[in-house]
């Protein structure tokens, strides 16, 4: 019977460490050598190897990174418990769900030494008010990208997707994402998001049905769709748009006057993380401008850390996709809709795609 003893030993050690941590010394001093491992669960192609390497060398911790391909996959895996992961990187809507379900450890990054580096506008966010559970990783916007050689008019309007001009008819890719498509449609009509008003939703449904013949595809692989010239307009994320522009320089990312969505991926620690202390060290490390800049240089999105721009590539700091031009509306962060609204959305979506 080795296990109970081991378990007990572990909890004892944990208690001691958290006692130390509670006094604040554990995290403040960089001299703490938490030799051991850290298991990170993140989107694929989204974790800078350079940033991980530096963390490993600095703290003598071996880091393992594992990938997921969708929020649903990640959520399904970690809600069963004992996934073995310490750090996860959920999107803003998902993190709200995870906090409500009690899946995250309340590690209080707001008490950590580097918390002062976080841009104040990312502290009191709806998904983690005051940041008791998470810190920003990367953030961006969801709008659309147009080839300005094909369409020469003003691109900053959702009409290009829902009331397509002649040049763009049949040359449009929409995201294969219920919430992104429906919310964009609601913005175009000027109706509230997470809408349970049946008259307005019917209006939306009619709009989508009318627009659908102008869409060629509904697919997530937007970079490929744009660079292969399968389409000339694609709904999608700003970082992807930037990468597509490298291959097709006439592409331009739109900031529609009717509004567009914002999103943020956040670093959080799972409840029952086997390497809790290392996870906290990682969180504190990720709030340094250098680490945040390395993450951004790799993933091509903005981070929420002040002073990181000094270490970011000049290309990122000036590109139209990352820096929102003055005069554009602020990105809207839409909370997850409740089940009744989701059912309504699903009905619209299924009938649109039947």
């Amino acid at each position: 019977m080795v296990t109970p003893k081991n378990k007990k030993g572990k909890t004892m050690k944990k208690t001691i460490i958290s006692l130390v941590a509670a006094t604040g010394f554990g995290l403040l001093s960089q001299g703490v050598m938490a030799a051991g491992t850290l298991n990170i669960y993140n989107w694929g192609d989204y974790t800078s190897p350079e940033m991980i390497k530096e963390f490993e060398d600095k703290y003598d911790i071996k880091v393992n990174v594992d990938d997921f391909d969708s929020m649903e996959t990640m959520l399904a895996k970690v809600s069963q418990g004992a996934s073995g992961y310490d750090v996860v990187v959920p999107g803003e809507a998902t993190i709200k769900i995870m906090i409500d379900k009690g899946l995250l450890e309340k590690v209080q990054p707001n008490k950590m030494s580097n918390f002062k580096n976080i841009d104040p506008k990312w502290v009191d966010v709806y998904w983690d008010e005051g940041r008791d559970y998470s810190i920003p990783y990367q953030w961006g916007t969801t709008s659309f990208t147009v080839d300005t050689d094909v369409y020469k008019g003003d691109i900053n309007t959702l009409a290009l997707m829902f009331d397509a001009p002649k040049e763009l008819k049949g040359r449009i890719n929409m995201l294969n994402d219920m919430n992104d498509v429906i919310n964009a449609g609601l913005r175009y009509l000027g109706h509230e998001r997470c809408n349970s008003n049946r008259t307005q939703m019917k209006e939306l449904f009619d709009l989508l049905v009318k627009a659908k013949p102008d869409w060629r595809t509904m697919d997530y692989s937007i970079i490929e769709k744009l660079t292969s010239k399968d389409v000339d307009l694609s709904q999608g994320w700003n970082g992807a748009s930037k990468r597509a522009r490298k291959d097709r320089p006439t592409l331009s990312y739109a900031y529609p006057k009717e509004g567009f969505a914002g999103w943020m991926d956040n670093i959080a620690v799972l409840k029952g993380a086997p390497n809790l202390e290392n996870a906290k060290l990682f969180m504190n490390y990720m709030m340094t401008p250098q680490a945040a800049a390395m993450a951004s240089n790799f993933a091509n999105y903005a981070n929420g850390i002040k002073g990181a721009d000094k270490f970011m590539s000049s290309d990122l700091n000036t590109s139209r996709e990352i820096v929102i031009p003055a005069g554009s509306p602020a990105p809207e962060f839409v909370p997850p809709c409740d089940q009744a609204v989701t059912d309504l959305y699903t009905m619209v979506w299924t009938n649109l795609k039947k």
Binding site: S79, D177, T217, P336, Q339, T350, K354
Partner: protein, 314 residues
Amino acid sequence: MTDLTVNNQTLSSSVQTQEQRQQKVRRLLLAPSLITILIIGVLPLSVVLVYSFLEPGAFGGVKWNFSTNAYVQLFFEADIFDGSLSFTTAYLEIFWRSISLAVMATLGCVLVGFPTAYFIATQPPERRNIFLFLITIPFWTNLLIRTYAMLLILRDEGVINIGLQNIGIIDQAIPLLYTEFAVSLGLIYSFLPFMVLPIYSSMEKFDFRLLEAGFDLYANRLKVLWRIIIPIAKPGIAAGCILVFIPSLGAYITPEVLGGGKSMMIGNLIYSQFGAARNWPFGAAIALILMAVVLISLMVYMRRTGDKGGLSHG
């Protein structure tokens, strides 16, 4: 007399115990496979069955309340206008599209697979193995990659369109990709080996002198094909049809990549219920109904082939 009875009894009881023991051993030896089937087959299916009768939980998962809503939802939906329940054809249309595409893929596979298998079966034995080997080559690569290869061939700037433009047959790209044609072509390409192999194995042992006999009896080529070759190959064709139809019906990647994602198939519908729609019970219910469709078509097939046992030929 008494002695005899006693003897008889001991004899029969010893035979019985021996039989019992044998049965015990047999059961014990069968146990591992039975338990495996139970764990990897019956158990997950029972979970699906149970989940289909529960209520959807908030943000995924299930609530442990009994409900038949998932099955009602398949045929009735709350109207967008007033919320009253009315008959819906949305899911039936999705089922219908999936079934018709699967039928097209199956027919396409028969048309291409039958001559291929016949050709291989008529080759000298040592060459047959090379051809069979060639048939299996696509299986060495992941399905997704093979589907993407089709995408590269069919797209506006793909091999076919650029090729035709270069020869001067067309001036503008023909939109081949993101159509039902592309999806059927992709399905045929993906599942063709499942058709060729069973047809080949049913024709492999065929004595081709029977064809000469047929010709000697004044049958023309069509008659020989219809009266001799096809009846011989029939169990293989039937097995191949099942092997192609079933995976085509539940296909997910091919319609998504080659169809452009604008229209749902059953596979996509089920996936979305466990994803964005957050309605696990409904997803479970559709999965079970899909299984029922497959089982019914299998049963129809079994009854048709009767006790000739078509599958064992395949």
